[in-house]
């Protein structure tokens, strides 16, 4: 036991004195998590939060024009410039501004828009109670064209959303005018005056959220994806310093010296495994803490944990084992540090790309989604999702943890048999 403790102590000392290795293991992943989360957060904002510049020309100067103005101004989606009662030159200028990209869209609510709606309502009511209305419907204008012009780079989906919003505004106004007209007629027929508070709030509203097995959860954000994903990436990147440690020990002759001493190779390798496993657990803890407490200072929403820490510990330990096993395999097979670092870096990046670290799985094609299931980082991410997004416990993360453990066992077996074959070859 003392030999094992002294070996662990030695590995720890060697590790903490390797500044470059430590940087690779802690500082690089933290920078990665920060940068990628920030980038994806901004991308998310571009789609959902960054205001789109538009120009609204209100030539109507009546209910519809004002409703459009109010509705669009109150919508966080738009950054509106309003021009009232614009002449033809101003309208042309606005179109030029949209064409040059100053605005992504222009809306011209023409003069008489509200009047047209009123007339249409009057025509409708006139069909039912002509005696009350007493208007000549033949001359009533029935439709009006609201002019929409877009920057050519805007997508169809964006144009459809805008048209849908504007239709909603005009429909609201039309309904309101119909209601108020009928209300006035009823008042006239019953000889009374009614004060009606027309409800601004719609009767039907929508309650949206994500479904999960364990009850209500918070909306998954770039933090909820990036922190676990890049934690796994950092863990697997440990294969480079670990493999380097094994190769250096071999090349310096220290391993040969140890082979002549009364200590088993198992003691030597398990002490490395334990120290590097602790490092992976520490990496996970540090990155998660940064996600919870430091990222909010950069304007990123904080990482939210699930309730079952047992699940988190299980998936972290098994992912750490998988990563260290991978490092041991590379360190055993690679002949030089250059080979190990190149193979380690490239294979980690490939496993990360396949596993859904960079691109979430749901964006991948069905074929790639199938292939990604071969990556241990995919198992790790799935396990972490269970904890971070679905508040799952040990039982739910167990299948992923088992896969990671089998990957670890597989790597160690490959290293072991490679060593046996190599020793036979040397003989």
């Amino acid at each position: 036991m003392r030999k094992f403790i002294e070996s662990v102590k030695k590995e720890f000392l060697v590790l903490i004195r390797d500044f470059e290795g430590l940087s690779l293991m802690f500082i690089m992943p933290l920078i990665l998590v920060f940068v990628i989360t920030l980038l994806q957060e901004r991308t998310y904002e571009t789609v959902n939060e960054t205001r789109i510049p538009i120009v609204l020309i209100n030539n109507d100067m009546d209910s519809v024009g004002f409703a459009f103005t109010e509705g669009i101004t109150n919508d966080d989606f738009f950054d509106v410039t309003i021009i009232e009662e614009a002449d033809s030159l101003q309208m042309e200028q606005s179109k030029d501004d949209v064409a040059s990209g100053k605005y992504q869209m222009g809306i011209i609510v023409p003069e008489g828009t509200t009047k047209s709606i009123r007339n249409r309502v009057l025509a409708l009511v006139n069909q039912q109670v002509p005696a009350m209305m007493n208007v000549d419907t033949a001359n009533l204008q029935q439709s009006v064209l609201v002019d929409l012009f877009f920057d050519p780079i805007t997508k169809d989906s964006f144009r459809n959303i805008i048209k849908s919003n504007l239709r909603e505004f005009s429909s609201k106004i039309e309904t309101r005018i119909v209601f108020l007209t009928y209300s006035r007629i009823i008042d006239a027929m019953t000889n009374q005056t009614t004060e009606i508070n027309y409800p601004e709030k719609p009767v039907i509203e929508f309650d949206e959220g994500y479904v999960c097995e364990f009850g209500q959860i918070d909306v998954p954000s770039s933090v909820q994806h990036n922190v676990p994903a890049w934690t796994l990436f950092a863990m697997f990147f440990i294969c480079i310093p670990l493999a380097g440690n094994i190769i250096k020990e071999r090349y310096d002759g220290c391993l040969d010296r140890l082979k002549t001493m009364p200590v088993s190779y198992l003691t030597i390798i398990v002490s490395k495994l334990l120290v590097f496993l602790m490092v992976t657990i520490l990496q996970a803890a540090v990155i998660v803490m940064v996600g919870m407490w430091v990222m909010p200072f950069a304007g990123i929403q904080p990482l939210q944990l699930g309730q079952s820490m047992g699940g988190f510990v299980l998936i972290t330990v098994s992912a750490g084992l998988a990563a260290t096993g991978f490092g041991i395999m590379i360190g055993t097979i690679a002949k030089t540090y250059m080979q190990a670092s190149t193979f380690g870096a490239v294979s980690t990046v490939i496993l990360a790309a396949l596993g859904g670290v960079w691109i979430p799985l749901y964006i991948m094609s069905p074929v790639m989604r199938q292939i990604s299931q071969l990556s241990p980082m995919n198992w790790g991410i799935q396990g972490y999702y269970e904890f971070f997004l679905r508040d799952a416990g040990i039982i739910n993360v167990l299948p992923y943890a088992l896969k990671l453990f089998l990957f670890f066992a597989g790597c160690v077996c490959i290293a072991y048999f490679y060593k046996i074959i190599k020793n036979k070859h040397i003989a």
């Binding site: 003392r2 002294e6 070996s7 030695k10 000392l13 060697v14 010296r257 001493m261 009364p262």
Partner: protein, 253 residues
Amino acid sequence: MEKTAYIEINNLCKTYIKGKDPALDGLTLSINKGEIFGLLGPNGAGKTTTISILCNLIKPTKGYCKINGFNVEKEFNLIKPLIGVVSQEIAIYKSLTAYENLMYFGSMYGLSKKELKERIGYFLEKMNLTKFKNEKIDHFSGGMKRRVNLIAGVLHDPELVFLDEPTVGIDVQSRRVIIDYLKELNNEGVTLLYSSHMMDEAENLCSGIAVIDYGKLVVQGTPKCLIEQNDSKCKTLEDVFLQLTGRNVRDYF
């Protein structure tokens, strides 16, 4: 009184790559307990291969060797506590201090902390390294590294020490400290198997010498006998060595 054979090397053959020249080609040697035995030969003669096989780091293609009656291949676990190895490379951790290195390697032999502290203190003093004990090996000179490398191989009080070119690339002062200590160690009854290219050092240090070339034993005897047995023009061991192995430069790969 006749000394018993402590190391027995019997018809040892080693071929690294099939079809290429063997590194060892039927080497047979016998080394007595308490000897300082020099293994001499040009580059590629098979010195390091012989020591590596004796340390069970590589397996022989043919033949066997025994240490204190134990078969190296089959009973190496019984041999491990008896031997110390001072390799050609500086086989210590460069980012650890001298003290940390020695504590680690010493503990691998199962020595207690107290015992280790005493021994490390003794050896550091003997090798003039006490004031540098807490310095990282990375900051040491070549000679200092060699001395720590030597201590790591003898810290556990072995019966037999393998020394593969222990004084290569160091200054005269460090070399003298190492040689003096090896003599002292031998006086305490420790057997030393030593390989070197330093003929004067071997002549001065060794009680027995084997010259090997192309993996075969060329000659074996005491330095004095070897000089006397050869051409009268040979005044030193180096002269004998050159006469036996030729003056051509040896390159191998």
